[in-house]
Symmetry: C2
Subunit: 208 residues, 2 copies
Amino acid sequence: MKLTKERIVDAGMATFAEVGYHGLSMRRVAERLGAHAGSLYYHVRGKDELLALMADRVCRQAYDAGTAALAGLPPEATWHDAIEAQAEALRRTIQQHPGGAVLLADSPRTLSSGALSLMERLLQTLLDAGVPAAHCVVAADTLLSHVTGFVLQERGNSPAPPVTAEVHADLRTRFPLIIERMPRPSRDDMFQRSVRLLCAGFATLVEE
Amino acid sequence: MKLTKERIVDAGMATFAEVGYHGLSMRRVAERLGAHAGSLYYHVRGKDELLALMADRVCRQAYDAGTAALAGLPPEATWHDAIEAQAEALRRTIQQHPGGAVLLADSPRTLSSGALSLMERLLQTLLDAGVPAAHCVVAADTLLSHVTGFVLQERGNSPAPPVTAEVHADLRTRFPLIIERMPRPSRDDMFQRSVRLLCAGFATLVEE
DNA sequence: AAACTTTTCCAACACCGTTCGAAATACGTG
DNA sequence: CACGTATTTCGAACGGTGTTGGAAAAGTTT
């Protein structure tokens, strides 16, 4: 079958899901398509462009997931709910691809039309909520970078660290607050609450 | 001169600053030390460990920068100022290393003692501010992941994208909010305001 | 069918992380 | 000092990577 930018990105996403970020190579992507690595370069400038295209696709998926989530919202939902729905959709979408956060992190977000779509809708939500235009960009940017950062951190912590008892005791004396006194809610819970925290901040900007 | 874990991390940081994340190789690090690549493996398990050590060093630097910033605060400073100072110190430190955000992103933050130090102090600040312990971890985590995400986004935008007039016109019709109506404050300004936004969210948690 | 364009192959290049046995160096002991 | 041992470095090698460029194939137009 003929080689296409679209099909290459497809294969890229599939390979990415299988072998992760570090295992993604042009040769493996080509192999999945029954082609040779060099052939990809006729359709794609290099690995960088492929990664950028993949990142854009993730943004697009997140956008679609967001529209679905927004559509499922009850009519009495507030703008808090709308923002929460978009944030959660973005997080879930990134999470679906192992290492997907790094993917987004490694390619410039601006001028990727998928990323711009996400931004645009978020801005609209905030404007509708009554946040003055002058503050909207800051607010939307804050939310987006927060979600990215959160998922990034999440992935780093996910392989449960093998903590020996000895290490734990050491940590307890050196970082008493973290280890001892702090309740550790689930990541899902923490994410929801952190987004609500942001919304509370946004609310202080709303002009009646 | 003798090879050491410490000296290897030094050379790693220097090489990293010169050639960036993608250009960092064991061979280049070794070359800077007048040694061969294989020799590094006697002191370091592999490139992963080197990167983790480097990430930890960045956290340490950020911690020290934070203490300096806190010390320079006037006595009438509020807890908002204290959090802002720590966030700004972290951002500046990460920024000093090109691609430093990706460095932090690619290594697990937990169990890195530098990262834990950052977290611990942030928790203390929030506790002193009156945020109940049950919410502190969420708040601190939110702030840290926000700063990371922000710098990440910042770096992606930094190489000013070559926007042709044609592309700009296309974007204007497709994303009117972003391109047209939104004022674009400086990144410094945006960062400060986003942190204040977070603080406003934290303030709603404070029990009198 | 011939001329031409688009697409794919394939071999090669330079570089990468990592391993391993052999050298070399340092060091404590007789 | 000399000798044996432990620590450290070398240097070559292996399999893998992104990328290139000319030859070959496939498709299209005249």
